[in-house]
Symmetry: C2
Subunit: 218 residues, 2 copies
DNA sequence: CGCGTCATTGATGTGCATCAAGTGGTGTGG
DNA sequence: CCACACCACTTGATGCACATCAATGACGCG
């Protein structure tokens, strides 16, 4: 999201996001129970976040790519309530939340920016609830791919050539379906001429059919 | 959540929440597409929020009771993205968001408070995603009732005597299940001696069994 | 280049949706 | 004040979408 600042403000925001941290593939940026100190802005790489229950059940709650913010879950209780795992080597900006609050008291546009980021996450999760609560498996996978494509496009990548960074299992967890069902649904969509699927390489052949598939009647 | 203020701060926050609005049962407090101006704090009554798609599909995204805040979805795009409907006659405080931001630039504890409210909503939605994505119908209903009971208890009501303000259909929409399944699951839990169910009057007889039911293995 | 992880594919089972019918409670108008 | 209509809910019968079980195939990377 855009955030226009005056030169002197820019400088102060820059120093806020000065510290960097590298996270190698498979490593956790934070995990449930960790003390919350900072938000993280992804510079490069790809993450998943997931919650887990005592009985070892896991639910992937989101996939995040460059330019997105993770860690918002930690604010409410000063502890993180989910895990963030790098799905490929990544680098993040560490943004101490105290400093964010301090600065956003002075820089109105930053304050608004933070609020929008949090609101956007709420709206995003509303969308996932809609997906999980009322769509069948085909619609879910279509919505998932469409969303990925849009985000890649916004970053200047091709919206039709996707390289999935997550396993079928992680997709399944996110979409509330079993790994075999994910696989079969990919197959069906490729038989139907909507996708070309080759492992983690997915090409969207018919974007119109894909969008229609998201809103098919039950 | 607690919010301790000095006397002069208190006064200013008080005037922020000065304006009231009554919403009769069935009426919408706001709906998708409405311009976003204010957050709403529920003084009395009970609400549901739901999203809808073009193809008329609806998903209840939450039920809110006295003391809770609604409208956070509107911040990101300056428009509401869901509907808020009163399930019983209600009164809310109208809190202009501009004023909230203004004040929270001056009152640090208010600023933190707002951030926590938004983060809490994010965490709550994570929980719903877990529920929708990985629990069976019994577990979902158990989790739903347990959550309601906790919130009522926090407000000084009995945690075992519930009067549901929503229909079976609304419960079903929230939990991603059909109305008949909601009904049958209530029945089963009452046969199992966990609940006593009489229409919208529900008594939790065996809270231990209820909590165990939330974490049964798949 | 071999081994383990990830993905595919087929066969079978089942939890929940769907279809269908009926009950009870509540408000309304004759 | 009763009869009717309407709505929310329940209950039973049936079907299907997706889970589960099982086996094999194909990478990717160390």
């Amino acid at each position: 999201m855009p955030l226009d600042l005056k030169a002197n403000e820019m400088k102060r925001v820059d120093e806020l996001i000065g510290k960097r941290r590298k996270v190698v593939r498979g490593e956790r940026l934070f995990q449930s129970g960790d003390k919350f100190n900072s938000l993280f802005a992804i510079r490069t790489g790809f993450f998943k976040t997931h919650t887990s229950t005592e009985d070892a059940r896991e639910q992937v709650t989101g996939f995040q790519m460059a330019g997105e913010i993770i860690g918002l879950d930690g604010i409410v209780s000063d502890r993180h309530t989910c895990d963030a795992v790098a799905l490929e080597d990544a680098e993040v900006c560490v943004m101490p939340f105290d400093r964010i609050e301090e600065l956003s008291r002075e820089i109105t546009s930053l304050q608004r920016h933070i609020h929008k980021i949090m609101s956007r996450e709420i709206v995003r999760e509303n969308g996932v609830m809609l997906l999980l609560g009322s769509m069948n498996t085909e619609e879910r996978l279509a919505a998932f791919l469409f969303n990925l494509a849009k985000r890649l496009q916004a970053r200047g990548f091709s919206p039709s050539e996707l390289v999935l960074r997550m396993t079928r299992e992680e997709i399944g967890s996110y979409l509330g379906m079993q790994i075999e069902t994910v696989s079969r649904t990919f197959k069906k969509m490729s038989v139907d001429g909507i996708l070309e699927v080759n492992g983690r390489h997915v090409r969207i052949v018919n974007i119109d059919a894909l969008t229609k598939m998201m809103e098919q009647k039950k």
